[in-house]
């Protein structure tokens, strides 16, 4: 029979044994690997996995665009994406996300302008979840919200430390933070 008949429906690699498992369970498995969600009640997380969507990005496509308003968080299922700070004339590479990385998580809690862009380097498959879904499911679960704040703060403070390390003391003094 034609090979296109029995293929999987959405993006992301599928192990041979998982071929006939439903996508919901696969997504649930992925989400449980994110520390922020690891401790969430399973039935809630299952609903969350059901409402999340797989998205595919070709190399060069923007997953997040700097300056856009934030309402979605992503988890990389496969591929590599780059975090970029865009300036008027040039862009600076800040970080890289690979399989299993979770990013944009603060968007689940509040609306803000994206400070960085994230661009697909290879073919990237992501699991995306939006704030409305998150709030409807987890607004009664403070532990999940705290976990997200915790993991995001850790990443931000690491970045901030790295950032300050690179600057001269005079420069920091001038910043008047």
């Amino acid at each position: 029979m034609n090979p296109s008949i029995e293929s999987h429906t959405t993006c992301g690699p599928v192990a041979e044994k998982e071929k006939h498992r439903c996508e919901l369970d696969a997504n649930l498995e992925l989400l449980r690997r994110v520390p922020a969600f690891a401790g969430a009640p399973l039935d809630r997380l299952r609903l969350f996995a059901f409402m999340s969507k797989r998205q595919r990005f070709s190399p060069g496509a923007f997953i997040i665009r700097q300056g856009d308003s934030a309402h979605t968080a992503y988890m990389v299922i496969s591929g590599t994406a780059q975090v970029i700070k865009e300036f008027k004339t040039l862009s600076v590479l800040l970080n890289e996300f690979n399989e299993g990385d979770f990013f944009g998580g603060l968007a689940l809690l509040t609306d803000f302008k994206r400070p960085f862009s994230v661009r697909a380097l290879t073919d990237v498959c992501c699991l995306s979840v939006d704030r409305e879904t998150f709030m409807r499911i987890f607004s009664q679960s403070p532990e999940v919200i705290l976990q997200i704040v915790d993991s995001m703060m850790k990443r931000h403070s690491t970045m901030f430390d790295k950032f300050l390390e690179k600057l001269s003391p005079e420069c920091i003094a001038n910043l008047k933070l």
């Binding site: 029979m1 034609n2 296109s4 008949i5 029995e6 429906t9 959405t10 993006c11 071929k19 006939h20 498992r21 439903c22 996508e23 919901l24 997504n27 299952r46 609903l47 059901f50 409402m51 969507k53 797989r54 998205q55 595919r56 990005f57 070709s58 498959c125 995306s128 409305e132 879904t133 409807r136």
Partner: protein, 836 residues
């Protein structure tokens, strides 16, 4: 003026010859009513007493003839009077509406729409019923009364005087009651008006009501009025019935007097029996006309009250004449001169104060100032939407106040801050301004409707082309559409696929018969077409015998039911408790109203083998399986081999249907057009994949690119122009409405264009496009007066008038004003600071 005319004026001055015919018929009818009484008397006194059979037959025949003719006449009179009444009503209604439309804008600021609507509809209808009988009813009944009374006098003066003696009593009591009724009626009208205003407000402010859950508050406002209305109606009914009671009570006193006195006279031999019978009949016959007169009196009072109330309300004069008399509308060049222009409203506030300015034809003026400075008011005065009460405005040397509406609208385009879009097609709205002028263009001047190419040009000037193309692409064609046009779309689809098919393969799952479609349902994958017959529609497909037979033959039936069982169980576990929340149920294969059914079903059949299921349960699971769309319903998955089995069944199904019922389905074949899909859906011929985030935009862009320069493009624009914009244009965005309003004004080719913050809802790119249009295409040809909200757009204007408190306090070019370091300088820098 319409409000000076009395109610009877309308009746007396129209349909005069019909009314004359009516009058003659009434006179005849009254005579025919009295005639049988005389026959009656003669039957008793002559035929019976003298025992003459021949005479009896003659009198009876005459009696019958008179009764029949009177009946027919009554019917004709009723029909004619109702006809006249409705005719008069039609006239009042149309003229009143025409009058209302002409009333100045400030009138409508204080008049709620509900008020106008109830006046023109329900209140006037009641008057219409009265109008029909306004002349006929009193005439018939007074004549009848007089005739019968005369006849009674002729029979016996004494009895006649006695039986009439009760009427003066009634005439003394009834009007007093009626007066009180009228007062209540006035109150009732006011209450109904207030009530319709409350309804009108709630309906038009529904967004705010929902946003604040103001249901109970609004309901209480309404409830207050309906309560008042209830009490008023009650009191009115008591009074009305009181009047009826007084009437019939006095009326029934009559026969008492007649029997007493008439009987006495008869016994004494001073009155023959025939005369007494005739007298009694005549008296009885008096009752009907008298009652009708009473009813008429009540209706008359009621209508009079309503009519007065309506006319009082609209007692206002239009500010401008509509059409010039004895000449064509002036062609005006764009020169405008204001000399000490002032505009004072009722409470003495000066909205415009001593404004003087000269504007050359083809030049551009911006009006700026803080809100409330009078800039919009000035624009509206120049557009003749408001009148002014001090100083002068000269347009092409002619005083604006003396110009007719036609002079102004033929030369000026006015775009309001929040333009109004009427229910109808987009094209209707675009040509509204032109059509309005053409309405008044009775011969003489040539005024052609704008040609399609002119419309397209105006659309592209304001940047509406893409939107209209999209509306066109989203049209669902009916099967009655010309076949040539449909074939053109199919040809375009094939070209689109050969050009972009490969590039879009990642974003779109095309209807390719060699593939299983994971973004479509199992039903679609089996039938691979859209049903044209009701018995094959997807929601009843599982009960269709032929479908069942084919599925059974292919060995697909049992696997599908098992899939349905699994899908039902998984869905119930996941969403069973969320039935109330539409947010989560969106992606459920079970519609919310069936969730309870499936929850019971899953509980009842848990652990059961599919073969042991009852017929109805089997059907429920089959229906669910046919809905299964793997890319959406991620809670379940196909067991191994099932897609291949479905895929094989597809060919079997297509083969059988093609052979046995070829009309039942339109299959997804390259040359078939799907009439249940939009045109874009037919070009795409597939489903967008759920994991391609920007697929729709990509597809639309590619389609638009490929359409460029095609003849299909023009027909799609035509279809887009037929897009129904909805009530108040609510299917359009704010930006689209403004673009339509600008295009509508441009289509008139005006020599003066007034833009009252006309680009406020537009994005930066669209705004720049309009600005470019003003700077290049209109420069030198059309005087532009623009109330500006963004100061960045006005650098190139010839003059800028800075307004404060109704006065122009600075006037000059951009650089000049900046150098002066006055209010303009402050406004510019203020906005800069605010922007920072």
């Amino acid at each position: 003026m319409i409000f000076d005319r009395s109610l009877f004026d309308w009746v007396l001055k129209s349909h005069r010859w019909q009314q004359l015919v009516l009058f003659l018929m009434i006179v005849l009818m009254v005579f025919l009513r009295i005639f049988p009484l005389e026959m009656q008397k003669r039957v008793i006194n002559i035929a019976i007493q003298l025992k003459q059979l021949d005479t009896l037959y003659v009198y009876c025949a005459l009696y019958l003839g008179a009764v029949v003719v009177a009946g027919v006449l009554k019917f004709v009179v009723n029909a004619l009077q109702a006809y006249i009444g409705q005719k008069v009503l039609l006239k009042i209604r149309n003229q009143l509406y025409e009058h209302i439309l002409l009333l100045p804008l400030p009138f409508f600021r204080k008049t709620p729409p509900g008020m106008v609507i109830s006046s023109l509809t329900s209140e006037l209808s009641v008057i219409g019923d009265f109008l029909g009988g306004a002349i006929a009813v009193p005439l018939i009944n007074v004549l009848t009364l007089v005739t019968f009374a005369g006849y009674m006098f002729h029979l016996n003066p004494l009895l006649a005087v006695l039986s009439m003696s009760i009427y003066p009593l009634e005439i003394a009591i009834i009007p007093a009651l009626q007066k009180r009724l009228n007062r209540l009626n006035f109150e009732r009208i006011d209450t109904v008006r207030s009530m319709s205003n409350v309804i009108g407000e709630a309906v038009s402010g529904m967004q705010e009501v929902h946003a604040n859950a103001g249901y109970s508050l609004e309901n209480r406002k309404f409830g207050g009025f309906s309560e008042t209305l209830f009490h008023l109606r009650n009191r009115m009914n008591i009074l009305k019935n009181g009047i009826k009671f007084v009437n019939s009570f006095f009326q029934s006193l009559g026969p008492f007097l007649l029997f007493l006195v008439g009987g006495w006279l008869s016994i004494k031999g001073r009155l023959d029996l025939g005369a007494l019978v005739a007298f009694l009949s005549a008296y009885e016959k008096l009752y009907d006309p008298w009652r009708e007169l009473m009813d008429y009196y009540q209706d008359y009072q009621d209508s009079q009250v309503r009519y007065k109330r309506i006319m009082e309300y609209f007692h206002e004069r239009p500010e401008f004449a509509v059409e010039p008399v004895g000449r064509d509308p002036y062609p005006l060049d764009g020169r405008i001169e204001m000399q000490n222009l002032s505009f004072t409203v009722d409470n003495g506030i000066r909205l415009l104060d001593q404004v003087s300015m000269k504007i050359d034809p083809g030049s551009q003026v911006a009006l700026v100032g803080l809100s409330g400075s009078g800039k919009s008011t000035l624009a509206m005065v120049i557009g003749q939407i408001y009148s002014y009460n001090g100083g002068r405005v000269l347009v092409d040397g002619k005083e604006l106040r003396t110009l007719t509406k036609m002079d102004v609208v033929s030369n000026m385009g006015y775009v309001a801050q929040q333009p109004f879009i009427f229910d109808g097609s987009l094209l209707d709205n675009l040509v509204y301004a032109c059509d309005s002028i053409r309405e008044y263009d009775r011969g003489g001047r040539e005024c052609a409707p704008p040609s399609p190419s002119q419309v397209l040009q105006a659309i592209s000037m304001v940047g509406l082309s893409d939107d209209i193309l999209r509306f066109g692409l989203n049209t669902v064609l009916s099967p009655a559409h010309p076949i040539g046009a449909v074939e053109e779309i199919v040809r375009f689809r094939n070209r689109f696929h050969s050009k972009w098919g490969a590039a879009l393969a990642d974003s779109v799952e095309f209807f390719d018969y060699r593939r299983y479609l994971y973004h479509s349902s199992v039903a679609v994958n089996v039938t691979f077409g859209t049903p044209n017959r009701d018995e094959y529609k997807y929601h009843v497909l599982h009960q269709n015998p032929k479908f069942q037979e084919i599925v059974e033959e292919s060995g697909l039936m049992r696997p599908l039911v098992v899939l349905g069982q699994d899908l039902a169980a998984q869905t119930v576990i996941l969403l069973g408790d969320l039935i109330e929340d539409p947010f989560f149920v969106r992606q459920s294969p079970i519609p919310p109203n069936r969730l309870d059914h499936y929850r019971d079903l899953v509980e009842r059949t848990a652990g059961m083998n599919a073969d042991d299921l009852e017929r109805a349960d089997w059907d429920s699971f089959l229906l669910l399986a046919l809905r299964f769309t793997p890319a959406v319903h991620t809670m379940a998955a196909f067991p191994e081999g099932l897609p291949s089995l479905i895929f094989r069944t597809r060919f079997h199904f297509i083969e059988r249907i093609t052979k046995e019922e070829p009309e039942a389905f339109t299959f997804y074949r390259d040359n078939n057009y799907l009439f249940n899909e939009t045109i874009l859906g037919n070009i795409l011929f597939g489903k967008l994949k759920s994991d391609a985030p920007h697929a729709m935009e990509e597809v639309q862009q590619r389609v638009a690119e490929l359409l460029d320069g095609e003849s299909l493009h023009a027909s799609l624009m035509g279809l887009g122009m037929e897009f129904q914009v909805g009530s108040k244009g609510d299917r359009l965005s704010g930006g689209q409405k403004q673009k339509i309003a600008i295009a509508r004004a441009l289509l008139k080719n005006p020599s003066i264009l007034i833009l009252d913050e006309a680009t406020a809802s537009l994005d930066n790119a669209s705004q720049a496009r309009i600005q470019h249009l003003i700077d290049s295409d209109l420069k030198g040809k059309c005087t532009v007066i623009s109330v500006a909200h963004r100061l960045s757009t006005i650098e190139s204007y010839d003059q800028i008038a800075v307004m404060r408190a109704g006065k122009v306090i600075e006037l000059g070019a951009y650089d000049e004003l900046l150098a002066r370091k006055g209010l303009f300088y402050e406004l510019i820098n203020g906005t800069k600071e605010a922007a920072l």
